[in-house]
Symmetry: C2
Subunit: 81 residues, 2 copies
């Protein structure tokens, strides 16, 4: 079962990569407000059903994929095609 | 106007970060197939409407945010709340 995990820096947490991208976009002539850069992680997980997959991915996040102190996590589970 | 840009390594392109995460998840006892790691970029763009925002973000991708040779891009534009 495929899951998409979006890991983003929380509001208020410094994001130097986002600031660098914002500066570069402005130099290129784009009018942008804030830019934030996070990670998208596509995981193919062996699970009984969508609920099981989501529970497993939540455990993966707390054990490895994200730092809950400074990052927020959004999980989308897609049924296997 | 807010846009979410998902930048992922294309199929067939090596993804060492994804392989490292996959190995770590397996060591933690998770049964996972492939793991791929990309970037999520949240951009607040000044635009007349959603079409203009999408066109600008597409230009940002080709000029800075992604390497079309090895990365695929997915753009979601959300109306400002």
């Amino acid at each position: 079962m495929k899951a998409v995990v979006l890991v983003r820096p929380k509001d208020g947490i410094l994001d130097p990569q986002g600031e660098a991208v914002q500066g570069s976009l402005e130099k290129l002539g784009f009018e942008v407000g804030s830019v934030r850069v996070g990670r998208v992680i596509d995981v193919d997980v062996t699970a009984r059903d969508a609920d099981d997959a989501r529970a497993q991915v939540e455990r993966m996040c707390s054990e490895l994929l994200a730092n809950p102190l400074i990052e927020s996590v959004q999980i989308q589970v897609e049924p296997a095609s």
